[in-house]
Amino acid sequence: MDDGDARMKARVTVMLKDGVLDPQGEAIRHALGTLGFQGVAGVRQGKVIELDLDEGASEDKVAEMCERLLANTVIESYRVEMV
């Protein structure tokens, strides 16, 4: 794409921090066991947030968005991918 409206995307993955009990993940693990799926030792549930950004947006800016709104860093960690 070489038009003037070039956009970028960022994909933000927000997960509960390691060590924070995830009751929803645990419920999913239990349900998988009920369906007969073997060998699922653990499940963690998180969320994915996709941002449609103006060209030139920096990963640092997205990280700032995560710190200030997208993740609650008391209990959640985040990962930013520019795609």
Partner: protein, 226 residues
């Protein structure tokens, strides 16, 4: 004594909270979430229960970034009083005014029933109307009331005597059965149970009323530092 109750889109306990404040003798103003300032001379801000902004992203997350919450943070930083109930407690943690976070209930279910709380501290305006160790019956109604904080923060809250209320029988998995916590200066209280729903005998109980009475009594004789 002047109280301001903030109304967010999705608040549904705002009028109940205002009624409880008025019944205790406070003058109450309702404040819209887009307001950038609080009414002149407000002593206490009430953040009500409900589902502000549909609980989108995280409970209280969007509300905590609304214009009025900057004013509420300033008010708290000046030594002003704040009471956050249920979604209001979630908003207080999301703003960082109180530590920790409210996670999904451990049992994954929305829990709506009257529970027994133990009053842990009586050395705050909110709890002076109770006796230490007193058991009170107050309703809860939430899906995300599971209080979480790091072990170090929990130890700090305990050491500083900032756990105001504890559940007698933990309904949601909260760390150390915490139902409500105070700020370091004891002028901000966040709690998941609804004292405003237990402040009128016609509605099934009055165990929440001393909280409002204590606050009004404290503030009637003492303004907030400018």
């Amino acid at each position: 004594m002047k109280a301001a109750v903030v109304v967010f889109p999705g608040s549904n306990c705002d009028r109940d909270l205002a009624t409880a404040f008025r019944a205790a003798g406070a003058e109450v103003a309702m404040v819209w979430h887009k307001d950038r300032t609080l009414p002149e001379g407000v002593d206490v801000v009430g953040l009500p229960g409900g589902f502000s902004f549909g609980d989108y992203l995280r409970c209280g997350a969007i509300a905590a970034r609304s214009p009025v919450c900057a004013a509420v943070s300033d008010h708290a930083a000046r030594g002003g009083y704040v009471l956050g109930v249920c979604n209001g407690f979630q908003i207080l943690t999301e703003t960082g005014i109180l530590p920790g976070a409210l996670m999904r209930n451990a049992g994954l279910k929305y829990v709506c029933r009257t529970v027994t709380l133990q009053v842990e501290r009586t050395d705050s305006a909110f709890t002076r109307g109770y006796a230490a160790g007193q058991e009170v019956r107050v309703p809860i109604a939430h899906h995300d009331g599971n209080y979480a904080a790091s072990p170090a923060e929990l130890d700090m809250l305990e050491a500083e005597g900032r756990v105001a209320f504890r559940y007698a029988d933990n309904p949601n998995g909260s760390a150390r059965q915490i139902a409500g916590i105070l700020s370091a200066n004891r002028r901000v209280l966040g709690m998941m149970p609804h004292p405003e729903r237990a402040a009128d005998a016609a509605l099934g109980g009055t165990d929440g009323a001393p909280l409002f009475a204590g606050l009004v009594a404290t503030l009637a004789g003492q303004g907030v530092p400018a």
